[in-house]
Subunit: 123 residues, 2 copies
């Protein structure tokens, strides 16, 4: 699969899952995975899902503006950088965000998220 | 060295070099390094420096807002994600940007930039 197509498919899957069934994101992380959400680090699939499902908003919708990807080295990983807007239910203005995923291959030929760094872009 | 301190030192070195002696950034990249600048990919230290020194602005100043870092895997690499503002000489308003660096260790105990993805954050 073309890396750009793979990155786009991952991004669409990630945010549609986030916006409709956040607990389902657990399948995308493993025990060594790390999330930094607004500067706060969380490690491991279970802890990451607990963090994501306890964020102080229930309904949201992500809109993607840009997707960039590069191979991350000989281990077959891929870095995906996303920018976009996050609309929270009941809020007038969407928030801008940037997010970076480092995807690593699984033995089954799929990918999981090893690194995940999320930041809102204020002002 | 503490990873957060290392990331901060790298970021300060990178942007102070960018703002004062852009051609000096060549030492931070190697032949396998890749830059994606506003969606355009460039590979290799020499090509990356040619790209950075030919950008349509000469004088600029980066101001950093956030730095996040995580270890990128068993190869000893480190992912550094930066957000900040870029002030161009003669322009009234600073531009917001986001940049991701994947640093890989050298045999000499230092780091080089393997992946570099830069995006301006418009509107």
């Amino acid at each position: 699969m073309d890396p750009n197509e793979l990155a786009k498919a991952f991004v669409e899957h990630y945010y549609s899952t986030f916006d409709t069934n956040r607990a389902g994101l657990g399948n995308l992380y493993q025990e060594g995975s790390m999330l930094t959400f607004e500067g706060v680090k969380t490690q491991g699939s279970q802890n990451i899902v607990a963090k994501l499902t306890s964020l102080p908003f229930q309904q949201c919708q992500h809109t993607i503006t840009t997707i960039d990807c590069q191979p991350s080295g000989p281990a077959g990983g891929m870095i995906v950088v996303v920018s976009g807007h996050l609309q929270l239910a009941g809020e007038q203005h969407a928030l801008k965000f940037g997010q970076m995923f480092h995807l690593m291959p699984t033995p089954q030929g799929s990918f999981y998220v090893f690194n995940d760094i999320f930041r809102l872009n204020y002002g």
